[in-house]
Amino acid sequence: MSDEKGNVTNEWPLWEVFVRPKAGLDHKHCGSLHAADAAMAVQMAREVYTRRQEGTSVWVVRSMDITASDPGEKDMYFDPMEDKVYRHPTFYELPEAVNHM
């Protein structure tokens, strides 16, 4: 294994864990752990994150395989949606008789 700087390390790679709390709900990110491979990551996710029946399904993905938006660009990226209130149903005031459509 090698870290971001390309140094060889003997640390098990990092995995992100997603758990579906019960049938019908989305998988939700719940934490991370180190494991040598995917099978071990799933097994350890079960031991660590579902000791009290918190889940019915587990996903794991290598942390380095996740592409994320740039936190430094957060404002530029997400703020343009702030003034688009017409995208929400509450923007439209209808006559009382039909307001609950």
Binding site: T9, N10, E11, W12, G31, S32, D37, E47, V48
Partner: protein, 337 residues
């Protein structure tokens, strides 16, 4: 479990925080960071943060993580000697929880740019601290009950405010931990209750003896008095620490004295007395020289605990290595196929 050690960092760090010739850009980033803190906003791992904030959190979260896994050792001492199968299953579940808590916390610390191996190395070489409470021995079965009641009880007092910590990965880990910690406290109290209500005279004496030995170290878990706490002011400013050491300690004493009455044990403190005027229990002076002696490596079990951790790490080296080699071999095979 919890570490009080957030306040036990080398003092020179404070002066290095003051120096720093900062560029205009950095000053602007810092102003924006401080404004977010003032707004009560959460800071995520990839957000800009002052170097001292990062360092403080790495120290505090990793010391907290170390405390969780070192805390498994005194309890592990009683797994094979638990009085019933039920108590053994409960104890195993609790110890497994502590390992899990350590993992959540190490993962939170790693988001700040340190590796797990670096963190463990700091523990194993004695550079990092862990909660000094675990440097006391578990002499009898009653100690296991008292650890749940008092030590985990103190931990809960300490940890609940941390669920609102400004650093979001730490806060999220604490939410999960607090949810599980309540079981730890209740199972301990329950075990003691059985001995006090239906035990023999000797068993009741054993409980009282355990309370006598753990009471003062439990009060020390909240850290040095506010007047001597080097990091509290900055940590409070940054939303890392929400309630002061002394306030938490008082809250713990008030809650615990009532629980002791129901249990039928007394605290080893002749000065413990309800103060109508303050609306709190008064309690006797804490032996801080003992606290510092234990923090600095001279408690009854410091050497034993660290040696057990190092041995576990060294003995497991071949397993970690073999798993990695196995994974690489199979990855290469899959690629070729």
């Amino acid at each position: 479990m919890y570490t009080q050690a957030m306040d036990t960092a080398p003092k020179e760090e404070l002066s290095s925080q003051v120096r720093a010739m900062r560029s205009a850009e950095e000053a602007q980033l810092e102003a924006r960071f401080e404004a977010r803190i003032d707004d009560g906003a959460f800071i995520e791992a990839k957000d800009w943060m002052p170097e001292h904030y990062r360092k403080t959190l790495v120290r505090q979260i990793s010391q907290h993580a170390h405390s969780e896994i070192v805390g498994m050792l005194p309890e592990g001492n009683w797994v094979t000697r638990a009085p019933t199968l039920k108590r053994k299953a409960i104890l195993l579940a609790k110890i497994q929880d502590e390992g899990g808590h350590g993992l959540y916390l190490y993962a939170a610390a790693e988001t700040l740019g340190v590796s797990r191996d670096q963190l463990l190395d700091a523990l194993h070489t004695g550079k990092a601290k862990y909660s000094s409470i675990f440097n006391y021995p578990t002499l009898t079965w009653a100690d296991i009950g008292v650890i749940g009641w008092l030590v985990d009880g103190a931990a809960i007092m300490n940890q609940v405010p941390l669920t609102r910590c400004s650093f979001a990965p730490y806060a999220r880990a604490m939410v999960r931990i607090c949810r599980e910690e309540s079981f730890h406290q209740r199972q301990g109290y329950d075990a003691l209750l059985v001995m006090m209500k239906s035990g023999t005279e000797a068993q009741r004496a054993m409980v009282q003896d355990a309370v006598n030995r753990w009471w003062w170290p439990s009060l020390m878990m909240f850290g040095p008095p506010d007047s001597e706490s080097t990091h509290s002011a900055q940590s409070a400013r940054w939303g890392i620490k929400r309630i002061s050491n002394d306030d938490l300690r008082q809250k713990f004493v008030n809650a615990t004295v009532e629980q002791a009455k129901v249990l039928g044990v007394s605290m080893p403190d002749p000065l413990l007395k309800w103060n109508e005027q303050r609306g709190h229990y008064d309690f006797g002076p804490i032996a801080w020289d003992e606290f510092w002696r234990v923090v600095n490596g001279h408690g009854p079990c410091n050497r034993e605990r660290l040696a057990a951790r190092v041995k576990a790490w060294d003995d497991g080296a071949w397993v970690r290595e073999a798993a990695l080699v196995h994974a690489r071999k199979h990855a290469a095979k899959e690629k070729a196929a």
